[in-house]
């Protein structure tokens, strides 16, 4: 069992008798230290999608599924193709990629998850380093790290909130679970 706030994109949870793959999990603090998690799910039996919400501390059953280490190879609309060390190819539907699309890069290592022998989603490392493609110049004087600004990262153009001191060309580490900036990488 895991609690809702521990659930990540690519996990498969049981909802009644249906295995549901998590395409996106969005966590927010409500009040008095309580928090809620919104999930976009896809039913692995009939491919129907749904959005749902949980209290962050709600317990849920997570299926332990077969995973394989792969690298991203190419996109053949509508399938993303991954390859393992033995050059076996695995296809994942674009709809099942979830937030992984924000970080996808050529030859990026990740894990493909299987359900009943079918590749159903990908799981990314929790932290990824990406180069800032564009961000507004910093306003002089504020180096506290409290003031945030948007930054577009390579190669997908995904937008991340970064501290004001981050500049174009900097490499930053992003938490792929939350889409948030972690730190600047030297």
């Amino acid at each position: 069992m895991k609690i809702a706030q521990e659930i990540r994109t690519g996990n498969v949870i049981m909802m009644g008798k249906d295995p549901m793959v998590v395409l996106r999990a969005e966590y927010n603090k409500s009040g008095r230290n309580a928090a809620v998690v919104k999930m976009k799910l896809k039913n692995l039996l009939n491919n129907s999608g749904t959005e749902t919400v949980f209290k962050a501390d709600e317990k849920m059953e997570v299926l332990v599924l077969e995973k394989k280490e792969v690298t991203y190879s190419y996109f053949a609309d509508p399938m993303y193709v991954f390859m393992d060390a033995e050059y076996n190819q695995f296809e994942v539907e674009a709809d099942s990629m979830g937030d992984a699309l924000n970080y996808l890069d050529d030859a990026m290592p990740c894990e493909v998850i299987f359900y009943n022998g079918r590749a159903i989603s990908v799981e990314l490392p929790t932290g990824l380093v990406r180069e800032v493609e564009y961000t507004e110049p910093a306003v002089r004087g504020d180096t506290s790290g409290k003031v945030m600004k948007p930054a577009r990262v390579k190669p997908t153009g995904f937008e991340v909130q970064v501290p004001a001191f981050v500049e174009i060309g900097d490499k930053i580490e992003i938490d792929t679970r939350t889409g948030e900036y972690r730190n600047r990488v030297k």
């Binding site: 009644g16 603090k29 409500s30 008095r32 230290n33 749904t50 919400v53």
Partner: protein, 365 residues
């Protein structure tokens, strides 16, 4: 309604106000289950509030009748026995299904619109509807109700009448002393005691309920509020000229009143509080940016809410321009009072549930 008192009576205050306004909207048989029902009963005015209060059921207890609607205020868990009743009800297709609502806290953050109204599917097959109050059109609406008539300002004194219901760590004395004004401070007994105990030993105490604090530049006269009904509490708060409020219930009523206010959110991680405050101030800015003193209110609110070092000169200027602050507070109140309301939104959700049930029953027949 199920409600658990966490620190004070603010949560139950929201429930009581909601119950009162729901009853004004329709014919309800309303019951509130509270873990501190005896304390909560202090808030009730028997002339106005027609609500049955119950102690929190034990985990073994079953309700005599499974209600048509169950509302868990602020995300509290249902007692196990009641939860079991809902499971049994779900398994029997002949029984009408209860609408089970999770009512969350008020927040001005944009994500609330995306979360409001979603269903939560439980492992046991039960479904709970998540309801998020908020400021946007797509949220569950604003709690509270517009004050019908503000009490006349008790202007027998030239002192500034300040109402304070805040968390104890709030540096209220620092802010008030900066004003260099005579002040009547209406606050709860424990807060008055806290500030008077914490002050330097050079202060002079006169009586237990009216004490003069000579420290600093302001002359502050404490007037303590005895435990009272919610209506009496509102009346006192709305008779003041400046409100320092906290949590949700008093904050919403302050916003709806048109009286200048500063809000202290529930203490959480600084980043969380900042996000909540900044979201509120963004919405307020859209309504108030034409007012020249808006930046002073905005900055004072941010510093007060986050417990940061204030610019007390700016805060003093804001208070000296009280008429301008009042104009902004009235404009904001007018905006809030035009927003969708929590009680009406809930009624709409319940009506939809009833219609779906009726359609289901027709199909069964």
């Amino acid at each position: 309604m199920f409600c658990q008192v966490i620190d004070h009576l603010g949560d139950i205050g929201v429930c009581l106000r909601l119950a009162r306004s729901l009853q004004a909207l329709g014919d309800w048989d309303l019951h509130i289950f509270c873990n501190q029902a005896d304390k909560a009963r202090l808030l009730i005015d028997p002339q106005v509030d027609r609500v049955d209060w119950h102690a929190w059921p034990t985990d073994e207890a079953y309700l005599q009748h499974v209600p048509e609607v169950i509302l868990c205020a602020f995300g509290c868990d249902l007692p196990l026995g009641v939860r079991r009743q809902l499971e049994l009800q779900r398994k029997n297709p002949a029984l009408p299904k209860t609408l089970w609502i999770h009512l969350d806290y008020l927040s001005a953050e944009p994500w609330v619109e995306d979360f409001h109204g979603l269903s939560s599917y439980k492992p046991d097959g039960l479904i709970q509807q998540f309801y998020f109050p908020g400021f946007g059109e797509k949220t569950g609406g604003l709690p509270g109700d517009p004050p019908s008539l503000l009490p006349s300002n008790q202007a027998q004194t030239s002192a500034l009448r300040v109402f304070a219901y805040v968390y104890k760590h709030a540096p209220l004395m620092t802010w008030l002393h900066a004003l260099n004004l005579p002040i009547d401070l209406l606050t709860t007994e424990d807060l008055a005691n806290h500030w008077q105990t914490a002050r330097p030993t050079t202060c002079v105490t006169t009586t237990s309920c009216e004490q003069h604090d000579e420290v600093g530049q302001a002359r502050i006269q404490f007037k303590t509020l005895a435990p009272c009904t919610q209506i009496a509490w509102d009346h006192t708060m709305l008779s003041c000229e400046l409100l320092f409020v906290r949590g949700e219930d008093s904050w919403v009523q302050a916003m709806r009143s048109g009286i200048p206010w500063l809000w202290q959110p529930y203490p959480q991680e600084l980043a969380t509080m900042r996000a909540k405050l900044q979201s509120l101030l963004n919405i307020m800015s859209e309504q108030l940016r034409k007012y020249p003193h808006w930046p002073l209110w905005r900055d004072a609110q941010l510093a007060w809410g986050l417990g940061e070092e204030p610019d007390l000169k700016d805060f003093t200027n804001l208070c000296l321009e009280l008429g301008s602050w009042q104009a902004m507070a009235r404009a904001w109140a007018a905006y809030c009072n035009r927003l969708p309301r929590l009680d009406q939104g809930l009624c709409h959700m319940i009506d939809k549930h009833r219609s779906a049930l009726n359609a289901y029953n027709v199909r069964l027949c």
